[in-house]
């Protein structure tokens, strides 16, 4: 049978089956099981109304349970078993085997980089684009063009960016934009300005930002102040972790400023960008940032529009300049939305698979967890370690999961 025909039949059977199920089950409930007539009419109506929600919910609960809830439990179980040993329970063997693999740690390190860089960059660009496009007449057109990559598949985007990163031998004309731009630098004063001073300043700004973040997170610990009065027990370790992360990034940026200023750049030689260890991760991240910025922009732009005019007007009357208005009036008011955007992009990052798979397949030290897991599953056929790495992804996601559920429940009250 032709698959298209099969598809059509599936639609008819699926949709018809669903509607038929809902219709018939309601009919049966009302006509035969609890008919609203006779002696017990009142009681029957009440009973029928108690059962009915579950009729409406059953297909969804069944599908959600089978396709999402059950796999979580089953993956956890599989991560403690060994496929070759006939599914015997092996305790934490899979985990310790995974931990002893350098590829896993490479994937972890890269994932952490992705987790920091991509949400930060996408949110920042999105905020910038939202703020700028809200102020001009053709803003909506601009927005829809920046938003457009959302519709492009990760695979399609990978092809697009592979063309940008393409490399030809030095004596040929470059067809990749990045190499064409790179070869236009020859080591003169302009190259010094654009390839050393400007990036160094950017990294310096990032480092300063991180230092400020470390200071902010450590301040209450050092001075023992607890003004908010919410001295939860988990606040102290959380602050310590944030401060440690910040300090690590600060150290990284100081190191990179030094290397930026001292490294000798291979001018005039075309680079194979995707094979340069460490930096190639950033070339992959650019793809995701390019896609996710539009998302951040759309959400943040709606939030910016929701800001009460009076607060901005009051600031203008008080003589605030546009930057003050943006950073001190607008950003604090949309902080909640920024957090939502940030976490949503974080979720996308944790599951990123297609980009790495299509562009490097984890070679040249670009492995990430999702691709590592796919590798274990379908190339090494090692379901135990594959499941273990899936559980690691789940663990990384779970803080966001808990936070979302907590917020959703708070809202419903």
């Amino acid at each position: 049978m032709h698959p298209a025909l099969q598809g059509l039949i599936t639609i008819i059977v699926g949709v018809g089956g669903c509607i038929g199920y809902f219709y018939l089950s309601n009919q049966i409930l009302d006509r035969f099981i609890f008919p609203p007539t006779g002696d017990n009419a009142g009681r029957n109506i009440n009973r029928a109304n108690m059962v009915r929600p579950w009729l409406f919910l059953f297909p969804a609960i069944f599908a959600l349970g089978l396709y999402l809830a059950y796999p979580v439990v089953e993956t956890l179980r599989l991560s403690f078993t060994d496929r070759d040993a006939g599914g015997a329970f092996v305790g934490f063997d899979n985990y310790s085997q995974m931990m002893s693999e350098p590829k896993f740690w490479e994937a972890m390190r890269n994932n952490m980089l992705w987790l920091i860089v991509v949400p930060a960059a996408s949110t920042a660009f999105g905020l910038l684009a939202a703020q700028l496009t809200d102020r001009i007449g053709w803003g909506n057109i601009a927005k829809s063009l920046v938003f457009m990559p959302m519709a492009i598949s990760f695979v399609g985007a990978s092809v697009i960016f592979k063309l940008i990163y393409d490399t030809r031998a030095a004596d040929q004309e470059q067809i990749g934009v990045l190499n064409a731009v790179w070869l236009s630098f020859e080591g003169g004063p302009l190259s010094f300005l654009f390839l050393r001073i400007v990036p160094a300043l950017l990294v310096l700004a990032f480092g300063a930002f991180m230092a400020y973040g470390v200071y902010l997170s450590l301040r209450p610990l050092i001075w023992g102040e607890n003004r908010r009065g919410r001295g939860s027990w988990w606040a102290i370790p959380l602050r310590a972790v944030v401060a440690l992360g910040g300090a690590w990034l600060l150290w990284l940026s100081v190191k990179s400023i030094f290397s930026l200023l001292t490294v000798s750049l291979p001018y005039g030689q075309p680079q194979t960008w995707l094979t340069i260890p460490f930096w190639n991760n950033f070339f992959l991240m650019v793809v995701l940032i390019w896609i996710q910025t539009g998302f951040a922009m759309v959400i943040l732009s709606a939030a910016l529009r929701g800001i009460p005019e009076e607060t901005v007007e009051a600031a203008v009357i008080d003589g605030a300049n546009p930057f003050d208005i943006f950073f001190k009036i607008k950003v604090p008011q949309i902080m909640g939305t920024i957090v939502v955007v940030w976490t949503t992009i974080t979720l996308v990052v944790l599951k990123v698979f297609d980009i790495v798979f299509a562009m490097t397949n984890g070679q040249w030290e670009t492995q990430v967890l999702a691709n590592y897991m796919f590798d274990k599953l379908f190339r090494a056929s090692d379901w135990g370690v594959g499941s273990a790495s899936a559980i690691v992804i789940m663990l990384l996601v779970s803080p966001i999961l808990i936070w979302n559920v907590y917020n959703a429940r708070k809202e419903m009250r």
Partner: protein, 385 residues
Amino acid sequence: MSSIAGSKSGLTWAVHLSVLALVLLWLFPTVGLFISSFRTADQISTSGWWNALFPAEQGLVLRTGTAADQVQDGNLFVVSGNLFADNDENTDATISTWGTSSRDISAYEPGETADLGDDGRLTVGANGDYRLESDAELTSRRGERVFVTAKTPPEFTLQNYERILFSGSTTDSMAKAFFNTLTVTIPATVIPIVIAAFAAYALAWMRFPGRALLIAAVVALLVVPLQLALIPLLRLHLGIGIGKGYLGVWLAHTGFGLPLAVYLLRNYMVGLPRDIIENAKVDGATDFQIFTKIILPLSFPALASFAIFQFLWTWNDLLVAKVFLIDATGETTVMTNQIVELLGTRGGNWEILATAAFVSIAVPLVVFFAMQRYLVRGLLAGSVK
């Protein structure tokens, strides 16, 4: 006052310019792919796509006609013709300089005559017309080599699309993958909507114990990574005999799409006016009637938003298709997978890659621009909470 006005307009200009820069930066990659898909393999490999919009200066080695083409004109032996036409090059090109030796390829201007000694005298015009005349009969079996520097106008071709869509080539053709993708996408978009709509109605408008818990569960399942589901579900599918195929991928997409569908639709339905529903109840409508006659039509915007999400997600998906659909025969390959394979086998053939990629992103782009309003609304409903 004037200084304030001046700084204001200066700032406005800065805003316009930075938005323009941002938009161009964001469009640039896609435009590159789009233009490349209309260029021939030669063009792509000899110049960057950003040069394709302007006349390109090209160095060519062309040959004149051979001795066999000569005609006798009085006591002269003449070979004439057009260099570009004779060599199957673009005839719209204009020669800026030319030469007859590889050591000096720009020895002559168009219209000048080169003395080739025993081989005669060669005159080449700007449009490529040449005339080679000699006092003695020409004997050379090969034509004279002419090195020309020519400006060729931009030239685009549809042959890549023909090759990708209609050639039937086993490695390059996307036609089958295109229909496979459609076959995956449409049922995988329609079925979750129906299931989710009923569930969302129950969660929004029916009172029963455990409702809050169920909503919390949906919110939790919203973020469960797909990766966890792969092994257990593949085992399940293989175990109950579905195996790898369309049915499996439809079911998988339905399951993975449900949390978002239920969440979006419930949030929307909760916001519908209570009066309408209560009036209908007073008039004796059953829940089923309320749902089909009132809730569904009113929820159209939310249904449309989810439909677009699910469509884009299933169309662009690679992982689920790779795990649940594509078997060893590769008969059921989808476009994303086909492109990844082309990246492996045709890594350097950008005309094939660019065209294949553009074919696969064209449909989502059309949907995106046509239904953007609903997409934005869905994003806002799904995130700003």
